[in-house]
């Protein structure tokens, strides 16, 4: 039987998004070797590309891949002449069985799966924040080193080095592979939340190529956030993060038009926003805020809620949003937050008030190479009717962006500005 090559490719891609993290997490638990786990997972996916066209796509790709990766690990360990005890342990490892029980172990069990263990280990405070994020995206989400590098405005060799060093540190310093004990959870949680949010964003706006919405990554971030919220009902920031993700995710369908181009918040068809997700997000946020311990995720969720609950773009409560960004800057004094504050001020008090903030940020050089900086300046200039300057700024932004949809959006704005210049 020859299965259509395209169908196999699609099935392997789908399985990669769904199963990579699970396969790697399980193999790390059983072999204790991160590189081996990644290698064997990679081999399993390569094997799928070879075998599935001949044998057909298996009913449970995840189980097939985990078994293939496990067998590969046994081969490698055997060749390395590892002790018999270790081999037996790997051979006997819990596999996702070819039974419906595997389905049950998704997000309703409340039992932390291997991926949660992997996430807490990736987010261990002995690793730098950059390393934690990179490692989680690589091992859990299966992003390539190039994709991770792009997401963090770093070069690919820098990112590759970061990953190698992080894995070496885990191995050599013996960072435990586990969900931390209860007394350590509160100090370990922010690292996990930060990584989940980045993971969500990676899914919400992919950094390379045309698939702007890699829904699965965002869904995975939301799934893990739900697990975290269940595990830590008294951690309002976990709930704040979940609310934030739901509120963003609710607008997903309205973000792109029929041709796949970006639609700005202002122009989005609000009928396409998912009322159920917005309702859930707002409810979770309100419950979180009742703890009286505001934090960056709750504030960002409050900003998202301002947008999500405005009946029309004109009736958005921009002064409230500007105030929230001001508050957010106290928790997260980052240039991206400053840029968003400038945008909100521009909306609340006019482009003339926002422009100097963006220009100051640009002069500081803190966001050099970030396309949204010239894109924001371009929008302010356009709204001020300064078309030649706006056109120049759109051109600058175009040179820096890498996704097709953003490029098309900026090109359209550039054409408008050039026509009126």
């Amino acid at each position: 039987m020859n299965t259509d090559v395209k169908a196999v490719r699609a099935a392997v891609d789908g399985a990669f998004r769904d199963e990579w993290g699970r396969v790697v997490a399980t193999l790390i638990r059983t072999t204790g070797d991160w590189d081996l786990a990644e290698e064997c997972a990679q081999d399993a996916f390569a094997m799928a590309l070879q075998r599935w066209p001949k044998d057909g796509i298996p009913g449970r790709p995840g189980a097939w891949l985990t078994t293939a990766a496990r067998n590969r690990a046994i081969d490698v360990l055997r060749r390395k002449a590892v002790g018999a005890a270790k081999l037996r342990e790997v051979a006997a490892m819990t596999l996702p069985p070819d039974s419906p029980a595997y389905e049950g172990e998704t997000d309703h069990s409340g039992v932390p799966d291997d991926r949660l263990r992997l996430m807490f280990t990736c987010c261990h405070p002995a690793l730098s924040l950059e390393a934690r994020v990179a490692l989680t995206l690589r091992t859990l989400a299966g992003l390539t080193t190039a994709e991770i590098a792009r997401a963090f405005l770093a070069s690919e060799p820098t990112m590759a080095k970061r990953l190698v060093r992080a894995k070496q540190k885990i191995q050599h310093a013996r960072i435990p592979y586990r969900v931390p004990p209860a007394h350590l959870l509160p100090e370990r949680t922010p690292g996990v939340l930060g990584v989940l949010y980045l993971l969500f964003n990676e899914g919400y706006a992919a950094t390379a190529g045309a698939d702007l919405v890699r829904q699965n990554l965002s869904a995975e971030a939301i799934r893990l956030a739900r697990v975290l919220v269940r595990l830590m009902p008294d951690e309002p920031e976990a709930a704040g993060l979940l609310a934030l993700m739901l509120l963003h995710d609710a607008r997903r369908c309205a973000r792109l038009d029929a041709s796949g181009d970006l639609v700005t918040l202002e122009d989005q068809d609000r009928w396409l926003w998912e009322a159920t997700a917005i309702g859930e997000g707002v409810a979770i946020l309100e419950a979180a805020l009742r703890h009286g311990r505001a934090g960056p995720y709750q504030i960002q969720a409050a900003i998202a809620a301002c947008h999500a609950t405005a009946p029309t773009a004109d009736r958005t409560d921009w002064p409230q949003i500007a105030a929230l960004y001001g508050r957010l800057a106290e928790f997260l004094p980052t240039p991206v937050v400053e840029l968003n504050y400038a945008v909100a001020v521009g909306m609340a008090r006019g482009p003339g008030a926002g422009l100097p903030l963006v220009e100051a940020l640009e002069a500081s050089g803190k966001l050099a190479g970030y396309h949204l900086l010239p894109a924001t300046r371009a929008d302010f200039l356009r709204r001020l009717g300064r078309m030649p300057e706006a056109a120049a700024a759109y051109r600058e932004a175009l040179e820096l962006t890498s996704t097709d949809a953003e490029r098309r959006y900026l090109s359209r704005r550039l054409a408008e500005a050039s026509a009126q210049a």
Binding site: H124, A126, H172, A173, R174, I175, P176, L184
Partner: protein, 106 residues
């Protein structure tokens, strides 16, 4: 897993030299986790040795002229880095100095 705890501090840490370890040693010994430990004389009494091109090079003072210097060390056995971190955090010197945890290679 074996870890070296390097107890570091600036000059003000010298004031704590005679403090002792407030039961930390005893506690670690009871757990069977303490391999070795010792406090050191001040860095001014240090001597450094290098051999370059078969030449013996000697100098007085510590290896690196930094504000914080090594004042003592402990070698401990722990299950993992979390356990070593908790042990270091319990050491009285953590309250005034800095404790660097270094895993032994292999």
């Amino acid at each position: 897993m074996r870890y070296l705890l390097l107890i570091c501090g600036d000059e003000s840490a010298a004031a704590h030299a005679q403090d002792g370890c407030g039961g930390w040693m005893e506690d670690m010994q009871e757990r069977g986790a303490l391999r070795a430990a010792g406090g050191l004389r001040p860095p001014a009494e240090a001597r450094t040795v290098r051999v370059r091109r078969r030449q013996l090079l000697l100098s007085d003072g510590p290896f690196a002229e930094t504000k914080e210097q090594i004042a003592g060390f402990c070698i401990i056995d722990c299950a993992d880095l979390d356990e070593a971190t908790e042990a270091a955090a319990r050491h009285p010197a953590a309250a005034y100095g800095t404790i660097e945890i270094r895993p032994f290679s292999s």
